[in-house]
């Protein structure tokens, strides 16, 4: 809503500077988002930028002048010489304006003299230029008559600006027309402020004044309107009120300059006096109006009295709207129709056939109220946002129908010399009940948390035109004024009115003193944070990616035929389903990073969305994905120490580090531990793939949050890790490098996170380290060997560490040597050599027996 302050001051005084005014409106909910100075500087302190550079009209150099005579230019056909009286003198200027011709006299125009800064009317861009003396075809011109464009009032110009005849000659234009236009962002709850009067009411409430309402009396002619039109509302749910006024013998002409300028500053284009008046009243009252050519309605009724119907369109009916488009209608659309068919899209746009034009003599003025939802849908369906549909779709009180119609009729009588037929043909089908709200001082104070004084509360409500009557001790019955539809939920709505006018800045801040909840929400987020922190300490970079993807991209990772949460209205095919794989998203980022670098170590902890048969909502599960490739560390200048490439064991190292830090590692003694098992999945290198298996501990029992379907000891595969299958490198644009990846379903893992664990005592007795190298078959898994060692070494074997894997000379083919470092320690004594030797032998015996291992001489 563009608000001219000069216009606004007709209804209410503004007792503040423009800057303070803008701030007060903004804080009260009418946010001032832009300013347009008209011929004056931006007011000091106003912290807004103007969209366009605007000229400031110099008091001495831009003044109102009267045309004394227009003469032909001696040497140019298209130019005229204009003699002007500008109050303190006369001047002759050259002009090419088409709306001044030889013989004209008495017009009021705007004279700019040399030095005045104006918009260059001949430049395609909006540039400001000081006016210089010019010799035009031999005639010296030390000034010019200005167009609305040159003055910065309009975006286009048709000749020079002609002011109204009563414009005082010699008055600086800035004094006569200078203005500030504020752009207001009107909230849905403040639709009443899509009008000058609505804004004026806010100003009055904020400044404690009264609004000066414009007159709404009409001087009626002798004829009766009721005899000239009949109105039927067929669907009361979509039209609560429809009123028509008839004006005869109107003269269609351009509006006076003041009216045209007001429309221009409000962002509307002047058309003719009839249309301009409907727009003017729409801006003043917020009530959309429409003017029909009455004679055309009568023609359509074959000379009979026109009968208007407000009804739903019939399927397939058409209407040619004002913009010349043929609209095919549907019963969802509300139309104004007569006996011959639709004549207007109700509240959205009029029809072309019954439009008023230069030849119109008789007018039917519509002032009506239409259902907000219906108008909103129709305007959207036809993509026809208009000033009328904007207001109807936000809600207009039907009581405004009458004053707006009368105001417009009286203007039409005065400015278009019409005769108004007596009476409003008014069908008020559904008058909304008066809203009454019971409001107590205690409620207000409790909600705001600060005792706004009783007198302030009453003053604010009354200044907003609420009727307040005491009903009990500090309780009032408040009646909502008949221009508002937004008070629907009782006292809470009124508290907002009170506090926004009183001023939020006057409420002293406090912190809640209410008791804190006695419960704990699930602390899942802390686990996510721990996982992220651990991975960061392990050198991984976190990424966060789109949850929306394209199913085909994921297919190699999730398989064919996977079910997806699909969007009905995707913005792009690449973002059309909710992902099932986090790894796929991270691979996309990896490919992007690999264009700039050859090493990366990325992870994402995010959601996947798995549809569940027969259920409304998908299973939203947290997954963890890792992608590693390239050198372990960035390049270093010491060429002898270049880092090796990351391989499977870097990936495994990271995951082991993570699981150990979560107390779910192989050495965990809590609720569960993890194992790595060779596996085969389609998207991993067939010989470099592992399943991560969680083995819930039978002895320690599971935590209370375990899913009931899992028997406590059944192993759970919670993820896969390995080298990405080389045939997928091209699919994911990763080049010819080994890329190591993992994806873990954290929802399977997290229930087993021990909430606490018992810290083992630190033995004061010395540990004994012994090395053990064994020859085993190439096919024997290191993990099996380790498990046998651990089992045999209980309870004094404290650490088992594989420090060498060796194949080559001295090792029979088909065999490998695994060298382990074993640490024995007791909590209560120093171990003797004999004890250690005995344990060592026990371990060796078990390895020989179970795995056919041979001990290599140390």
């Amino acid at each position: 809503m563009k608000v001219s302050l000069r216009w606004l001051k007709e209804y209410v005084d503004i007792p503040w500077s423009v800057a303070e005014f803008a701030e007060r409106l903004t804080l009260a909910g009418l946010e001032v988002t832009g300013v347009r100075p008209v011929g004056v500087p931006i007011p000091p302190g106003l912290r807004l930028k103007s969209e366009h550079p605007s000229p400031v009209w110099d008091e001495d150099k831009v003044v109102i002048a009267e045309v004394l005579e227009v003469r032909k230019h001696p040497d140019a056909d298209r130019l005229h010489l204009v003699d002007l009286n500008y109050g303190s003198g006369t001047i002759t200027v050259v002009t090419g304006a088409t709306n001044l011709k030889p013989g004209d006299r008495g017009q009021k125009v705007v004279l700019a003299r040399v030095g005045a800064v104006l918009i260059d009317g001949y430049s395609a861009e909006r540039v400001l230029r000081p006016l210089k003396p010019a010799r035009i075809r031999g005639v010296l011109s030390e000034g010019m008559v200005c167009s609305a464009l040159e003055l910065g009032i309009a975006e286009e110009h048709e000749g020079i600006l002609l002011l109204d005849p009563d414009a005082p000659t010699g008055l600086p234009l800035a004094e006569y027309l200078g203005d500030i236009v504020l752009e207001l962002d009107v909230l849905p709850s403040m639709a009443r402020c899509l009008s000058m009067l609505g804004v004026a009411r806010e100003v009055a409430a904020l400044s404690g004044q009264q609004v000066r309402y414009p007159p709404t009396q009409v001087l009626f002619g002798p004829q009766d309107a009721a005899a000239q039109v009949q109105v039927t509302i067929a669907d009361v749910s979509l039209c609560s009120r429809y009123a028509a006024l008839i004006l005869d013998s109107v003269q269609v002409a351009p509006s006076p300059a003041w009216l045209q300028l007001r429309l221009l500053l409000a962002g509307m284009r002047p058309i003719n006096n009839l249309v301009d008046i409907t727009n003017y009243v729409l801006l003043e009252w917020g009530q959309p109006l429409h003017a029909f050519d009455y004679d055309k309605l009568r023609d359509r009724a074959h000379g009979q009295t026109p009968h208007l119907f407000v009804r739903r369109a019939r399927l397939g009916e058409t209407l040619t709207t004002l913009d010349g488009q043929v609209r095919t209608l549907h019963p969802d659309h509300l139309v104004i129709a007569d006996t011959a068919g639709p004549i207007a899209l109700a509240g959205v746009m009029g029809g072309r056939e019954t439009e008023v034009g230069p030849l119109t003599q008789k007018v039917l003025l519509e002032s009506a109220n239409f259902d907000a939802v219906s108008i909103r849908r129709t305007a959207r369906h036809f993509d026809l946002p208009s000033e009328a549909s904007l207001r109807f779709s936000r809600g207009v009180h039907p009581d405004l129908v009458e004053p707006a119609a009368c105001r417009a009729a009286e203007w039409m009588r005065q400015l278009a010399q019409g005769t108004v037929a007596r009476g409003l043909v008014d069908v008020y089908a559904a008058r909304p009940a008066d809203q009454q709200v019971s409001l107590s001082l205690a409620y207000i104070h409790r909600t705001i948390g600060y005792p706004i004084p009783r007198e302030d509360i009453l003053r604010i409500l009354r200044s907003l035109e609420f009727t307040v009557t005491p009903s009990d001790q500090d309780t009032w019955l408040v009646t909502v004024p008949r221009h508002r539809l937004d008070v629907q939920h009782g006292p809470a709505d009124l508290v907002e009115e009170i506090v926004r006018i009183y001023g939020y800045h006057r409420i002293p801040p406090t912190l809640p003193r209410d008791p804190l909840p006695d419960y704990q929400t699930p602390r899942d987020g802390h686990v996510e944070d721990r996982i992220r922190d651990i991975l960061v300490t392990l050198g991984c970079q976190e990424v966060i990616t789109y949850a929306l993807t394209r199913a085909e991209r994921e297919r190699p990772l999730v398989g064919d035929g996977a079910d997806y949460v699909r969007l009905l209205n995707p913005i792009h095919p690449d973002r059309s389903v909710l992902r099932r794989s986090v790894l796929c998203s991270v691979l996309e980022i990896a490919a992007q990073h690999l264009r700039e670098t050859n090493r990366l170590r990325l992870f994402e902890l995010g959601y996947v969305y798995l549809p569940r048969p027969g259920e409304k909502f998908p299973d939203e599960r947290r997954h963890l994905a890792l992608v590693l490739t390239g050198p372990r560390l960035p390049e270093f200048w010491d060429s002898a120490a270049q880092p090796p490439a990351q391989d499977f064991f870097d990936l495994k190292g990271v995951l082991e580090g993570l699981l150990e830090a979560l107390h779910l590692g192989e050495a965990a003694r809590g609720t569960a531990w993890t194992e790595w098992q060779p596996t085969s999945v389609s998207w991993l290198h067939p010989r470099r793939a592992a399943a991560l298996v969680l083995r819930p501990s039978t002895s320690h029992g599971a935590s209370k949050t375990l899913p009931p379907t899992n028997s406590p000891s059944a192993p759970i595969v919670f993820g896969y890790a390995g080298q990405l299958h080389p045939h997928l490198n091209d699919t994911y644009q990763l080049g010819r490098r080994e890329v190591y990846v993992a994806e873990l379903d954290l929802e399977l893992l997290l229930p087993y996170l021990p909430e606490r664990f018992a810290c083992r005592a630190v033995s004061p007795f010395p540990p004994v380290r012994q090395d053990l190298a064994v020859l085993v078959d190439e096919s024997t898994l290191a993990e099996h060997v380790r498990q046998e060692i651990v089992t045999a070494g209980q309870p004094l074997l404290r650490e088992v560490h594989l420090f060498d894997v060796y194949r080559g000379p001295n090792i029979p083919s088909g065999k490998k040597s695994l060298a382990w470092s074993l640490t024995f320690q007791a909590d209560d004594r120093t171990l003797t050599d004999k004890e250690v030797a005995k344990l060592y032998q026990k371990i060796v015996g078990r390895l020989e027996k179970h795995l056919g291992a041979q001990v290599r001489a140390p």
């Binding site: 909840p517 929400t521 976190e542 929306l548 949460v565 913005i571 270093f636």
Partner: protein, 354 residues
């Protein structure tokens, strides 16, 4: 006085010693088994008995003096040797350090943590709710019945399941929390990803995080809301930040407010007088606040009675506040990030700065 001669000779020769080998030979020449000092002591027997004690003392004194000189020389040689080897170990300390494995959190995670940590101190626990929601919870229960004009504020991604959509804000979480904990008091923050049907530009994304806050009790008031948000703004943006509260509109709060913080770049300073010759010039040129001096950071309000009722709370007895903010926007303000697309693009040069 041959002892005095011996002493001068020994010390003079010691002066000439510059390495360990020379020192060893000096040692045997003067202090060794057949050295000069031993020879001098042998002469004791040839002296008259009354002179022997004095002579013996003189020889011993000389021996101690030479031993001390020897030790001193040894230390001197050792120092010199050390200095020589240290010089050989010289390196260029301006060479770059050896790289270590360095991981980083995504900036969105860092900012989210900052936000949640501040609210944790104020007693707000974290509550999570689902991203795939239904129309009922995302709109209707939040006081936006079908065709409510305010629905236009949220352009929505719908799924192919009728009535199921991607949440457009974290506010449906309010309903879940209330229904879970009613009638107990509530003090939670709800972080999470939200989705909107929008063109992706430097300023708008189809996916973004939000943090919703909800406090419900018997006397949680508007002044508590103002105090909570003011505390938050100061802790998050630092310094003596001022906040400004504007009346606003959200269907699920009443009254509704928006909160601005004074510009962290230009400090909200009032620009000087404007308007150079003949033009109505622009006010100020701060790129962050566009000259307004204020940065919009969040929306909030008192929970609408309709929403309280939908959550199971009796508005006659309970009241509360809710607020919502966008961590991406907060990060953009705090770190002068000019393009929201940088977050999910995960551009390396972007991530590496955090």
């Amino acid at each position: 006085m041959e002892l005095e001669q011996l002493r001068q000779q020994a010390l003079a020769q010691l002066e000439q010693v510059h390495d360990e080998a020379a020192l060893r030979s000096w040692n045997s020449q003067f202090l060794g088994k057949n050295g000069a000092l031993t020879q001098a002591l042998k002469r004791l027997a040839q002296l008259p008995p009354q002179d022997r004690p004095a002579y013996g003392q003189q020889v011993n004194a000389l021996k101690e003096a030479l031993l001390a000189a020897l030790e001193h020389k040894k230390a001197e040689l050792h120092q010199r040797e050390l200095a020589r080897s240290l010089a050989a170990e010289a390196l260029d300390v301006t060479l770059p350090g050896r790289p270590v494995l360095r991981g980083r959190l995504h900036p969105a995670t860092q900012v989210m943590r900052d936000i949640l940590a501040i609210f944790a101190e104020l007693g707000f626990q974290v509550y999570r709710s689902r991203e795939v929601e239904d129309d009922l919870t995302n709109f209707e229960l939040l006081n936006m019945p079908p065709h409510h004009p305010a629905r236009d504020l949220w352009d929505t991604f719908h799924t192919t399941t009728p009535g199921v959509l991607l949440r457009t804000h974290t506010s449906p979480g309010q309903i879940h929390v209330m229904r879970q904990y009613c009638p107990r008091p509530i003090r939670v923050v709800l972080p999470g990803m939200c989705y909107r049907y929008e063109q992706i530009t430097a300023r708008s994304e189809i996916q973004f995080q939000q943090v919703e806050g909800l406090a419900i009790g018997e006397s949680i008031s508007l002044s508590d809301l103002i105090g909570t948000l003011s505390t938050f703004a100061k802790r998050f943006f630092g310094g003596e930040r001022r906040i400004r509260i504007r009346n606003s509109y959200f269907p699920f709060t009443e009254p509704s407010i928006e909160v601005d913080v004074d510009c962290i770049l230009c400090q909200g300073e009032v620009p000087g007088p404007s308007g150079s010759s003949g033009t109505a010039a622009a006010a100020s040129s701060c790129t962050l606040c566009k000259g307004t001096g204020w940065l919009e950071i969040l929306g909030a309000g008192m929970v609408h009675p309709v929403v309280l009722r939908h959550g199971g709370y009796d508005p006659e007895r309970f009241q509360g506040f809710a607020f919502g903010m966008g961590p991406q926007r907060m990060a953009m303000l705090k770190y002068a990030i000019h393009d929201i697309r940088l977050f999910w693009s995960n551009a390396r040069r972007f991530l590496e700065q955090f």
